[in-house]
Subunit: 302 residues, 2 copies
């Protein structure tokens, strides 16, 4: 008789976060042993996920967790994400350092596959196109630098018998469960309450990608054999003005939008849109949620 | 009365290694408080250098060392360098991980300036020119990946009040104190003993740079305010065949050279020569030892 195939033991970090939670949902339907880690375990029924509380900012706790659990797969979504602060907060360095501790322990204990949540902020910000293996990695922010450093390190830990590694460079995720201080939830809340919305000129083009699509792609990457970095974006350039006007149109409150009331932040890139050729060709992935219906659903449910 | 200027407390790692030892010599003439760390302390008179034994492959020992000593400057030369093994040895990952521990502790304890010994192997290997801020960083080897990851991380640790950081990408160092298993000492020893020298075709072009020049530039970088990566090379393309023939000519034994006796290693880049424009312009440095007299001195003393 053949031995039964080895069960995949998947560890999802940041599993109570915006993206991690959706990844967990996407993983629940898979035939795997599912483990989730967060700073504190959520209340309520936990279903078939085995939860652990661990402060992954601490390298030694991180090493112990990986040594105890010996996952075959890690989907590393944990990072600091407090709006307004995450770009420059020194906590980024703790996430970088403990990310290395995780990779080191994962390799040591026979880990097979690591997929990490990266960011479009790893790229040089004034590029015309953001192509995984061509656009220079030259992050302007501490957040981007720390993520880029972890990915560079992951590739080293992958060498010669180490885990296979992949990395999703996430563009502008939106959707249910987002932090209320981020752009789209802020606009929707103000419009619903009839408050004016103070905006920049709004002509920055961004690549809005629904968080369910983000989770779907990250999980695909986790179970794929393909290594390297992949853009996680819809590939559609959309101005912030367009999104605000769309939301205001749906909520019949266009007069509340006050474009130009806030200065454009210095060093804000004008265009940040994923080139999706590589992810389409290699992973065979395309986003399933179009922006407008995605926004409609948010308006109804937020 | 003015407060006396703060004394610079310099920590040199890898201080018994080929490059570290020459850096230590270059630092002895400076008005600084000089500390050196190595796996074991050398025997004999130690002069004005304060030595410590520490295994820097261990992250916790590394953190303790930096916390105890609180250096203002670190010149990080330590790394595994065993010829033939260092390209792929998994010990590279320990050096990467503990390098992060060093940077984290250095930042935490108010470190001012970090200069690290990087490598030309961080660059994509088939480039025509090796220019610090243009040539893609795409290392083929675990050694190159680990060094590149440490430099990416160093730039993150430098952000927002962290230490100022610089990095020397060293090309082909040679000179007194080299490991006898490296190319030039091997050729000299064989020629002196009248043994045949088995070589590849020898048409690879390399950038040989005297170890005293390497040390001089690394120390200059350490005390400079300029940040970023700098090539450490002479900028002169020299084939391995030329070096072997020069040495054989001096030792009157050209018939001992057997070119083509060994296959060219796969993936061996044909040309690895530093572009020196940036280091000349910004640091005002140029090598002082020309290859031929540098080789003459080696022949006399080895």
């Amino acid at each position: 008789m053949d031995a039964p195939p080895r069960v995949r033991r998947v560890l999802v970090t940041g599993a109570t976060g915006f993206i991690g939670r959706h990844c967990l949902n996407a993983l629940l339907m898979r035939d795997i042993e599912l483990h989730a880690v967060a700073q504190s375990i959520p209340k309520g029924p936990l279903g078939r996920t085995a939860w652990r509380a661990c402060d992954l900012r601490d390298p030694q706790s991180t090493e112990r967790l990986v040594a105890d659990l010996r996952p075959s797969h890690i989907l590393h979504c944990a990072w600091m994400a407090t709006p307004g602060r995450f770009w420059t907060d020194l906590e980024n360095l703790q996430w970088l350092y403990s990310g290395l501790a995780m990779l080191s322990a994962f390799r040591k204990h026979g880990g097979e596959r690591f997929t990490g949540a990266g960011t479009c902020a790893e790229y040089i910000s004034d590029a015309d196109k953001f192509i995984e293996e061509q656009t220079p990695i030259s992050p302007a922010t501490l957040y981007g630098k720390s993520k880029a450093a972890l990915w560079t390190a992951a590739q080293a830990f992958a060498s010669d018998g180490g885990p296979s590694v992949s990395w999703g460079r996430i563009f502008m995720p939106y959707g249910p469960g987002d932090n209320p201080q981020r752009l789209i939830p802020t606009i929707i809340a103000a419009l619903k309450e009839g408050r004016p919305v103070l905006l920049t000129a709004g002509n920055q083009e961004r690549d809005f990608v629904h968080v369910k699509d983000v989770a779907d792609l990250l999980v695909k990457l986790l179970f794929s054999e393909h290594t390297g970095a992949f853009n996680v974006g819809a590939g559609r350039p959309t101005s912030i003005r367009y999104v605000a006007e769309y939301l205001a149109g749906k909520l019949a409150s266009p007069k509340l939008l006050n474009f130009g009331a806030r200065p454009m932040p210095t060093n804000e890139p004008l265009k940040l849109v994923a080139d999706t050729e590589r992810v389409t060709r290699i992973i065979g992935w395309a986003p399933s949620v179009t922006l407008e219906p995605g926004l409609d659903a948010l308006i109804e449910n937020e």
